[in-house]
Amino acid sequence: MDIALARHWVQAIAVAMDEHQDRLTQLDSAIGDADHGANMHRGFNAVLATQVSYRPDSVSQLLVKVGSTLISSVGGASGPLYGTAFRAAGKALPGTDPDAAELLAALRAGLDAVRELGAAAPGDKTMVDAFLPALDAFEEELRAGGDLAAAAARAARAAEDGARATVPLQARKGRASYLGPRSIGHQDPGATSTALVFGALATAAAAR
């Protein structure tokens, strides 16, 4: 991944958050507080705005900056969580253009940071339930000899499956947990936006 691809990824996320803003809000309306669409939209708009004049030296720097911007502009639970994910991933990258395996390792670092910050385990009905299977699928595809584009495409599918698989779960973290068993039957908004993040990576990688 080079800086151009990283930029493209981030732009594709912003496009996806714009397109799916209402859907994310409606999902959050059912078991949360109806702001997830606006939060992600505001955050990635801010990211786009800072990217205009920002000339990073590395993908690492770029992702750290994305994370910081999210923390400064999103708020809510998703701001610090996504912000930390991007910052941790960026910090885990080398200063040079990372290959697919280095990107995977960095994304693992991002997931670890999210889990440390939010203390969510898989199955708690959070973004972790899309993030983790996405990385596992990414890794499997690389092991099977796939390139970044193939790995990203498989990760995106796995993230979507993971998001959908949150429907029958009872939430144990975040706002949805207040609903107890009534959180069952609804898809987690954060897992859904995580699927969009991986979908955007697949789009950007495929365009190469």
């Binding site: 610090p80 939010g118 706002r175």
Partner: protein, 332 residues
């Protein structure tokens, strides 16, 4: 969606500009989203900063002023503010004696304030955090994000604010805030869902004869749905949940708030308060002080919350201490 607004995106900015225009004694930075006391503050006073998502007005901006908060950080609607705001607020109001952050227990608020606390500490300012988690509707904290922070926030801000105004030190102010939180429990009921400007429609549908029991202040559904009951029955249920908390066992006098969630008229809140007063009296609890009105709201939700804080003379003296904010004003 039936609301007075220009665009859904501009609600917060417009409302903050309105807050500034209405209250010359507030210094509102609309761009930075920080509300602070306009006048001079005694050097060496411990500073109190709170904040949270908007949509709960008058919380928190309406509690900025002498004897209560030094600054408030309003987030977007139902969205925790960002660490930058909190840092800006804390550095602006620190008088050299440190800053107490009053944080309602929601994942977003906790994470953002935690990051802010680090940033503030990096500036060489001493920080303490008081977490408010008074809502008894959320019971099992190992299966949830823990009890929510709701009505007790007003009590914490008032009492810690009074102590800070009287010159107490950082740890003392934080300890008092934590103690008020520990002694307070709340329970809320909703008759309608609220509508966020972003969603444009109510968060849930509720049949004409049903209510949501155990709701929070973010428009989420409650723990369960019940047939709409009389004021008497609703209060009995709320008080049963509240008084079952071990910390309130043996309460003889209390500070009580009957709080409207935004769409409930005052006359109904007085009907509820009458029940609270009668039923508490029957259980040997005297209401020493009270608030009845809209203090911690959930946009246009029709509903109400009841908060009971076990009170002693020291706590009541701090409650009675002068306060001068847009939403609470007495003494002086």
């Amino acid at each position: 969606m039936k609301k007075f607004l220009n665009t859904p995106e501009s609600v917060l900015g417009d409302a903050l500009a309105g807050l500034a225009a209405a209250h010359p004694r507030l210094d509102v930075d609309v761009a930075a989203r920080v509300v602070r006391r306009a006048g001079a503050v005694r050097a060496g006073k411990v500073a109190l900063v709170s904040g949270g998502g908007s949509g709960h007005e008058p919380l928190h901006g309406g509690f900025v002023g002498t004897g209560m908060l030094d600054a408030a950080c309003p987030g977007e609607i139902f969205t925790s503010p960002v660490p930058d705001q909190m840092l800006a607020a804390a550095t602006a109001v620190d008088q050299g004696a440190g800053v107490v952050l009053i944080v309602k227990n929601y994942t977003g608020d906790v994470l953002n304030f935690r990051m802010a606390a680090e940033l503030v500490a990096d500036e060489g300012i001493e920080v303490r955090t008081v977490l408010v988690d008074d809502d008894v509707a959320v019971t099992d904290s190992t299966w949830t994000a823990g009890r929510r922070g709701t009505g007790a926030t007003v009590f914490v801000e008032k009492i810690a604010g009074a102590l800070a105004e009287q010159g107490a030190g950082l740890d003392e102010v934080a300890a008092a805030g934590r103690r008020v939180n520990e002694l307070s429990r709340s329970f809320a009921v909703a008759l309608t869902a609220c509508t966020t400007p972003a969603a444009g429609k109510p968060g849930f549908d509720l049949p004409e004869d049903e209510m949501e029991v155990g709701v929070g202040i973010h428009g989420e559904p409650g723990r369960r749905r019940e047939k709409l009951g009389t004021a008497r029955r609703i209060v009995a249920e709320a008080l049963a949940a509240i008084l079952a908390e071990p910390v309130l066992a043996g309460t003889d006098q209390a500070l009580v708030m009957v709080n409207g969630l935004g769409g409930t008229p005052l006359i109904e809140l007085y009907v509820l308060f009458n029940e609270v007063s009668t039923q508490l009296a029957a259980q040997g609890v005297t209401i020493a002080r009270s608030l009845v009105g809209n203090y911690v709201t959930s946009l246009d939700m029709a509903g109400a919350s009841i908060t009971v804080c076990r009170a002693d003379e020291q706590l009541l003296a701090l409650w009675d201490a002068p306060v001068d904010t847009p939403a609470l004003r007495w003494g002086g």
